[in-house]
């Protein structure tokens, strides 16, 4: 028997898949789980060697410090403003654009679509200086407006692309029969297409929200005060400047990652569908 046959035999057993999967998943989840555990340790315990894996005496000390003694709440508010603003702009603009590109083709709509895809190639980092020049000229450096505009640049084409693939799958007959019944095209879009595609639209909105929340580069370059800095940047400076205290770093990390983890637990199916939309049918 060749060694390959032996390996193949082991791999083909269903139990092997489970065992391997559980090992890999444990490794994938470990950083989140142990960061969560560390955030409940006392400061003393975080400096012990060998490190403890579970908190010996769970305490909320680190969270208390992060919430009351660090500017994290302010950054949380900043991030919420930027994120909600971006999501609103991206969705309001993206819905109509995507619907037009999907259901009402015109001469040149293929080119428009291509422009949208091509913009994804432009690396955000290479536009740092042009944006800096533009934003300085408009006196928008260090404002929420600036961050909302830049995040719109980052996620808008993606949102249009995902929404378009949802609209592509929408049965055209439904729209046509509504129009025959006397609906205007915009009315048909708003009162028939939108409610029926609500799940897909929600997924795109959630993805946009999460990406904006997690964004770091533009937040770091285009803001310089705590009143505007988003939470990712705030956490970076907070941790870099003031802390080598692992319990607080862990608590800060949990704070920043929490919205993503919560959203993801609730809407995972829809998010996955959104991310793979368009790619599947090619």
């Amino acid at each position: 028997m060749r060694p390959r046959d032996g390996v193949a035999k082991i791999l083909e057993k269903p139990a092997t898949s489970y065992v391997l999967l559980i090992i890999i998943l444990a490794a994938m989840l470990a950083p989140i789980v142990f960061t969560a555990f560390t955030s409940f340790k006392s400061r003393q315990e975080t400096f012990s060697w060998p490190p403890t894996y579970f908190p010996q005496k769970p305490t909320l000390q680190a969270y208390h410090q992060v919430i009351f003694e660090s500017p994290i709440i302010k950054h949380l508010r900043n991030s919420l403003i930027v994120t909600l603003g971006t999501t609103a702009v991206v969705m309001a603009g993206g819905l109509f654009t995507a619907y037009g590109l999907s259901q009402y083709r015109f001469r040149g709509s293929g080119v428009v679509l291509l422009i949208f895809i091509a913009t994804r190639i432009v690396p955000p980092i290479s536009l740092l200086i042009p944006f800096y020049i533009i934003m300085s000229f408009l006196h928008l450096i260090n404002t929420f407006t600036c961050l909302i505009i830049l995040n719109t640049f980052l996620w808008y084409p993606f949102a249009v692309w995902m929404l378009k693939s949802f609209f592509d799958a929408f049965p055209r007959d439904l729209i046509d029969s509504a129009i025959v019944d006397g609906c205007t095209r915009t009315r048909a879009f708003l009162s028939i297409v939108l409610p029926i595609s609500a799940a897909g639209i929600a997924a795109v909105a959630i993805i946009t929200f999460l990406w904006t929340w997690n964004e770091f580069l533009y937040g770091m370059i285009f803001t310089n005060t705590r009143d505007v800095q988003p939470i990712t940047v705030g956490a970076h400076y907070f941790v870099g400047d003031e802390l080598v205290q692992w319990d607080s770093i862990a608590a800060t990390a949990m704070f920043v990652a929490l919205p993503g983890l919560i959203f993801f637990s609730i809407a995972q199916r829809a998010i996955v569908k959104g991310l793979t939309a368009g790619a599947i049918k090619g």
Binding site: S17, P31, S126, L128, F153, I221, V256
Partner: protein, 288 residues
């Protein structure tokens, strides 16, 4: 008067197009223009031709950054690819509890890259982290490894922290590809006597190739220009061993305050990524 369907399409698409032109096309034009200007804090702005490009191409740090970027992006892509595909293959085999397994596999996607940097910085820390401790318990090493004072290990550490966030995306892409393969095909090759390697090579791989290529393209393009993890883990150190091009560009803006050379760096990165993307697209469409 009723407007035609295609005119209606133009009307509702135009605002989006204007947004995209204002936010992408216009800045790209500015980028191209400033890359040919002497644009610093000290002298008045003037045209310098290719001087900025010449400066960069003669700058040792640029080439160092490019080299580190290629290693970094290559490493992250390789790790993301192998991790994502293996995970997807396993997930496609598992039937009981597959829903739970799938959601657990994708959690790290939601973690911001900066935070991933923090998490792994703690894990790899030789004084308090669990990585060294685990390896010592297993008996692989006898004393803690100082990951971040070793040039190669620091790079590897950053690659792991970055790939960890990206594996789920690669995984769902591959999984979607695998699930579009009809079950009967596998039964057919089983009858012909193929083992699981044969089935993977002759059926799964050809059919998911396109999907995987798209995933690879996206991953490599994004990691080529990323910065978050390196910023929060090593900030380019130790001794510029993780000094990627993005850091080089930020230095032009923050330290040297030279918008001309910074823009030229941006143009070069844009060209590199576009040619890369073009190559991929060419290979994907050539086969059909």
């Amino acid at each position: 008067m009723k407007i035609s369907d295609s005119k209606y399409g133009v009307i509702i698409t135009t605002p989006g197009l204007i947004i995209i032109i204002a936010l992408v096309v216009f800045p790209v034009i500015i980028l191209l223009v400033t890359s040919f200007l002497r644009y610093t804090a000290v002298y008045p702005i003037s045209f310098t031709g290719f001087k900025n490009y010449r400066y960069i191409l003669n700058d040792r740090l640029f080439w160092l950054g490019l080299q580190k970027t290629v290693v970094y992006a290559g490493g992250v892509t390789a790790l993301t690819f192998s991790g994502g595909v293996i995970l997807a293959l396993l997930l496609s085999k598992v039937t009981r509890g597959s829903g739970i397994f799938r959601s657990l596999a994708m959690f790290s996607w939601a973690v911001p890259l900066v935070i991933s940097g923090f998490m792994w910085r703690w894990i790899f820390n030789p004084n308090v982290g669990i990585f060294s401790d685990l390896l010592m318990k297993v008996g692989l090493i006898s004393e803690p490894v100082p990951i971040f004072s070793n040039r190669i290990l620091a790079m590897l550490g950053c690659i792991v922290a970055d790939a960890w966030v990206r594996i789920p995306f690669m995984c769902i892409f591959t999984l979607a590809g695998i699930e579009s393969v009809p079950r009967e095909l596998y039964d057919a090759v089983k009858v012909d006597g193929a083992d699981c390697f044969g089935a993977f090579r002759h059926i799964t791989l050809p059919l998911i190739k396109r999907m995987v290529l798209v995933g690879l393209l996206i991953t490599s393009m994004i990691t080529f220009r990323t910065i978050d993890v390196i910023f929060s883990m090593t900030a380019g150190g130790p001794g510029r061993s993780t000094y990627i091009l993005s850091l080089y560009l930020i230095e032009q803006l923050w330290l040297r305050v030279n918008y001309g050379t910074g823009s030229a760096t941006g143009v070069i990165m844009l060209l590199l990524i576009s040619s890369f993307a073009g190559l991929y697209v060419y290979f994907i469409f050539k086969k059909e």
